[in-house]
Symmetry: C2
Subunit: 252 residues, 2 copies
Amino acid sequence: MPKPAGSTAAIERTTGQRSPWTVRPTSKPCSPCVRGPLCLPQGLAREALHGRDGVVNTMLHLQRGAPLYVAGAPFGNLYVVRSGSLKTVTSDHRGREQVTGVHFAGEPVGLHGISTGTHANSAIALADSSVCIIPYAALTSACSEAAAMQERLRRLLSAQLNRESSQLMALGSLAANERVVAFLLDVSERNGQRGDSPVEFTLDLTRADLGSYLGLTLETVSRCLTALRKQGLIDVQHRMFRILDLEGLRAL
Amino acid sequence: MPKPAGSTAAIERTTGQRSPWTVRPTSKPCSPCVRGPLCLPQGLAREALHGRDGVVNTMLHLQRGAPLYVAGAPFGNLYVVRSGSLKTVTSDHRGREQVTGVHFAGEPVGLHGISTGTHANSAIALADSSVCIIPYAALTSACSEAAAMQERLRRLLSAQLNRESSQLMALGSLAANERVVAFLLDVSERNGQRGDSPVEFTLDLTRADLGSYLGLTLETVSRCLTALRKQGLIDVQHRMFRILDLEGLRAL
DNA sequence: CGTTTCTTTGATCTACTTCAAGGGGAGTGG
DNA sequence: CCACTCCCCTTGAAGTAGATCAAAGAAACG
């Protein structure tokens, strides 16, 4: 098992952030979402969602390292990443903490809070990011009118379930290098679905965050990456990743 | 990483089952659910759920080792365990297979299929079990009438999300013995919520299944259990578990 | 009762962690 | 512009938790 990750203030430590976030992130009215099929609002008339009285009416800007919400905070909104990326970190009843999710543009954040009304994890911006705010109450009332919207939300929840299941598979039955490869392929695929390049992307995760997500130490992650580089499968510089041989990676 | 788990027919192997299940499990009309707060239908008038025209109208009986559904099958129903228990097993695109969930009485099964319309995992009875069948189409139409029902379903999905997140935590940051303890405490708590004894229960999982779920080999599971026994924390005989010192276990 | 499957326990091996040290970028202040 | 610091990343060497291999005991099953 990886390092126990100290006790408190670990959020700050793992994001390279120094001072507490006393200033709330800036928010402003939100323009209609054009993110395509990944965006939550798809399936409902646009005007019912955006604009005043709409479900989605504000956008939040977060600086790198800023929390979108913290574990234990009352749940009120869902979020959809507009730009940038976020991680979700969970800590058990003892201090131990782990990255349990990485969220890119178009992907939903905050679904875990629905069941209890309290956020079960903390969401932290990995880079300067912006998110759409979807007040849950407004969403549910929109749902009560549009069956399509209900179904869409349920599918979103179920999709997240499947994402976490495959991560369970990775942690439970893959070796270190296989986990790293699986993660890169996963990111590649999600990038492709979003219309970005599936072979070249920057991951704003530190090696420590990556290790935490993959159940490995940062050193092991680093070693795996250099091994893949030496095999000519990828090219890594800092946090810029380029996949050179996608088929080769898929063959593990 | 634990054993790669062969290629095909692994379902049969891990449940100790020999012949294929050519005969469908028996089904019969379902009496109203009395399972209390854990049961899905809570929040909707009973007559709208059970009885003819209701959402829940049949019950399925499964023999130990019988599949409720298999991965890749078209999704049509959700299920709630009435008695007995089930495991869900997921396999990645290569042969590797893993137990990704264990479901006891009152708990929902099949939620992963909602997102794609295809079951993403296989559900196998761990003991002779019975489940309520909830046709998804009927459920959604019931949802379109009752907002409370919608909300209940969403919470169910979110709760499952939280369950898988804590399993992610366990696999990512706990040592072998801690994983075993965490699992026992989890089962204990779920038993208590259901009204059964939190300190004495039978787990119809083989050591291999347990290991698969916890990301360990069966030998390691066995060794951890005997270690806990020697510490006087638990008593294990075959698959009968008795927790002798709950506080001691919680202290890891 | 004999066969099969499951479980326990021991001995060895190895993949990954841990510990340690050096190198590179980015920001800050002189 | 350079020096300084703070992270972050890489690489090496050593230690260890847990996997693997192996074999024997205990239930389950026909």
